[in-house]
């Protein structure tokens, strides 16, 4: 069995629902989504207009689910979805979109264009038109358990280092713990300080938590490449582990799409509501703050700003929590010109960072972020997504800027009040 056009078309047919039909019926070709998309503003290429990226899905909707389209199809008037179209659209749908959803926020008729591009990817992938890089990452995620190929022994080693550094125990596979922490491969490989920080904060707050040795990977290449079956399989691993350990809440780490995958798509992918809650680490920390269980000391004097990871704020709903937490420790906090739900994407989300082919454009569109940063000239940037963080560092280096990137969780850990 392999990918085929037929499977792709079938997948697109499955994706059309009343929201998609409303969206396509309402588009007036005003072009405002282009102005909201960094892949257009920084390249000036009209093909990268967000709504254009949904063309394969639009054609299926039109010819299969509208009376007039059906009539047109009978008369042979409708535009067909074929391999050539999908091949032509591959770079638009995967390389030129991070599913950041900024277009969805400005569309005057209210179209959730990002959702439609996400749906379009289902058809593209099923028809065999996903980028090599993403296919590789997805294959690794399924076979090895992590898109970066990180296996349990690697994490175990990092846990060892953390335990040694902090002198605290990192709970693993504790049945009945209240929280189960997920991690992204990037945190394990590039930012183990995160595990360190969480360990210290949780110890400080006195909460019971654990890491599952069977399902620690939070990322989900399935939702990036757009294969719900694979995404569901990856989510199911977490569900199984959480149920096995009987935890009340699963914590999504500082990773944007991981949060989208487990929090918002997860139950819909596996087809039933979770028996546990899902929270982002910042939501958990903000809860602790509200309950008075998170106490900090000292304020940062440098000028700080916060980069909203798209999947966590605009697409995820975690917008106020990080700001409450930053207020605890930042004395000079400045917002970027567009922030919160209107923030500009770093340019590497939605699988773009796993797709080597998109490296060049990813760095080109970083200009957008650079302009935003130039407007306020911060001393450091706080974020809450490892993927954003890596790409921001990459971009800043490319553009010769020297602004350090900070993790909000790690900063809070540094400012923890001594008991």
């Amino acid at each position: 069995m392999s990918a085929s056009l037929e499977k792709g078309i079938n997948a697109l047919k499955e994706q059309v629902d009343s929201s998609v039909a409303s969206f396509f019926s309402s588009c007036v070709h005003c072009g405002m989504c282009a102005d909201a998309c960094l892949f257009y503003t920084e390249t000036g290429d009209p093909e990268r207009t967000p709504i254009n990226k949904t063309e394969p899905l639009r054609r299926i909707w039109k010819s299969e689910y509208t009376l007039f389209g059906r009539v047109g199809k009978m008369l042979g008037l409708t535009k067909k979805v074929d391999d050539k179209l999908l091949a032509d659209w591959e770079t638009l749908v995967y390389d030129s979109c991070t599913l950041c959803g900024r277009c969805s926020m400005v569309c005057p008729v209210g179209n959730d264009i990002a959702l439609m591009i996400r749906k379009t990817r289902e058809g593209m992938a099923a028809a065999g038109h996903a980028p090599e890089g993403l296919i590789g990452a997805t294959t690794r995620a399924v076979t090895i358990g992590s898109p970066m190929g990180v296996k349990w022994p690697a994490l175990e080693a990092q846990i060892g280092h953390v335990e040694k550094d902090t002198g605290m125990k990192v709970p693993v596979d504790v049945v009945g713990a209240e929280y189960m922490l997920l991690l992204s491969s990037m945190e394990i490989m590039n930012f183990p300080e995160f595990i360190d920080a969480v360990t210290r904060i949780f110890k400080h707050a006195g909460i019971s938590w654990t890491i599952s040795s069977e399902a620690f990977e939070a990322t989900n290449s399935g939702i990036q490449i757009g294969v719900s079956d694979i995404a569901a399989e990856l989510v199911q691993r977490i569900v199984d582990a959480a149920e096995k350990l009987k935890v009340k809440t699963v914590i999504s780490p500082e990773c944007g799409h991981a949060y989208m995958a487990i929090r918002w798509e997860g139950p819909n992918l596996v087809g039933k509501p979770f028996s546990f809650k899902v929270r982002h680490i910042l939501e958990v920390l903000d809860e602790l703050r509200k309950d008075g269980r998170l106490k900090t000391t000292g304020m940062e004097s440098q000028k700080l700003t916060y980069h909203d990871p798209c999947q966590i704020s605009r697409r995820g709903g975690v917008i106020d929590e990080p700001r409450h937490l930053i207020d605890m420790i930042a004395g000079n906090f400045v917002e970027m010109p567009d922030h919160g739900k209107m923030n500009w994407c770093c340019g590497a989300g939605g699988g773009v960072s796993s797709n080597e082919r998109a490296d060049e454009i990813r760095l080109k569109v970083f200009q957008r972020k650079k302009d935003q940063l130039d407007a306020i000239k911060p001393d450091a940037i706080i974020s809450a997504c490892s993927n954003c963080r890596i790409h921001l560092e990459d971009g800043l280096e490319e553009y010769g800027m020297d602004i350090p990137l900070l993790s909000l969780t790690e900063m809070l850990a540094e400012h923890l009040a001594e008991d």
Partner: protein
């Protein structure tokens, strides 16, 4: 065909056909969309779908400052011609009379000078929109035959109405006939094109707002 015969046909069978096509077409399309249905969201909600959806229906009328700066022309011209169309369609005395005749109730009209001026402003705005459509590379790229057809059937009633009101060139009954004919063209084209956004945008905004609102984002 004499002028009165022409006008009689336009006001009689022509309008009848156009109304049936419009009403039936719009209803079919809305039912068709709604019946496609949507899967229930199984994720734990962070906000209300209904109230967020309704809020977005209203709030999406006003763009945020950054978007306004980036798409100033589209927004300003769009606003002008939409308001102009709304006023000319719904606040010109003869139109109110027509609507009252069909739906059974009316409302006060605006002075004809106001309607006249707004019609002219709308025509200018629509012409500017067309120029923009061809001069802006994104719009030029997106533009297809349907966009031009819709532009034409939208500006045509404004122009023919303006000409009929000022009785330029032809006998007034012919001008009136041409005007109503152009409206009938608009009515017939309506359900088959993006003009449907008049109705579906409420659904689209609701869905968009509901999707965001469910996740706790005020879109």
């Amino acid at each position: 065909m004499s002028e009165i015969e022409f006008l009689s046909w336009i006001r009689g069978p022509g309008f009848q056909i156009a109304t049936i096509v419009l009403v039936a077409g719009v209803v079919i399309r809305i039912v068709e969309i709604l019946l496609l249905g949507r899967k229930t969201n199984l994720a734990e909600a962070k906000g209300s779908e209904m109230s967020s959806g309704l809020r977005t229906v209203v709030t999406r009328m006003i763009p945020d400052a950054g978007t306004f700066r980036r798409s100033t022309f589209t927004i300003v011209a769009g606003y002008i011609f939409h308001i102009g169309l709304f006023v000319t369609i719904f606040f010109y005395a003869p139109h109110i009379l027509l609507l009252k005749n069909i739906i059974g109730f009316g409302w006060p009209s605006l002075p004809t000078q106001v309607v006249d001026a707004l019609a002219m402003v709308s025509i200018i705005a629509l012409l500017a929109v067309l120029v923009h459509r061809f001069s802006n590379k994104v719009l030029r790229f997106l533009t297809n035959f349907e966009d031009l057809l819709v532009w034409f059937v939208t500006i045509a009633p404004l122009v023919t109405g303006y000409v009929a009101f000022h009785r330029i060139g032809l006998p007034p009954s012919t001008l009136l006939g041409i005007h109503i004919l152009s409206v009938e063209l608009l009515m017939v084209v309506f359900p088959f094109t993006k003009l449907m956004h008049t109705f579906t945008l409420f659904m689209a905004r609701w869905y968009g707002g509901a999707i965001s609102g469910y996740r706790g984002v005020a879109s």
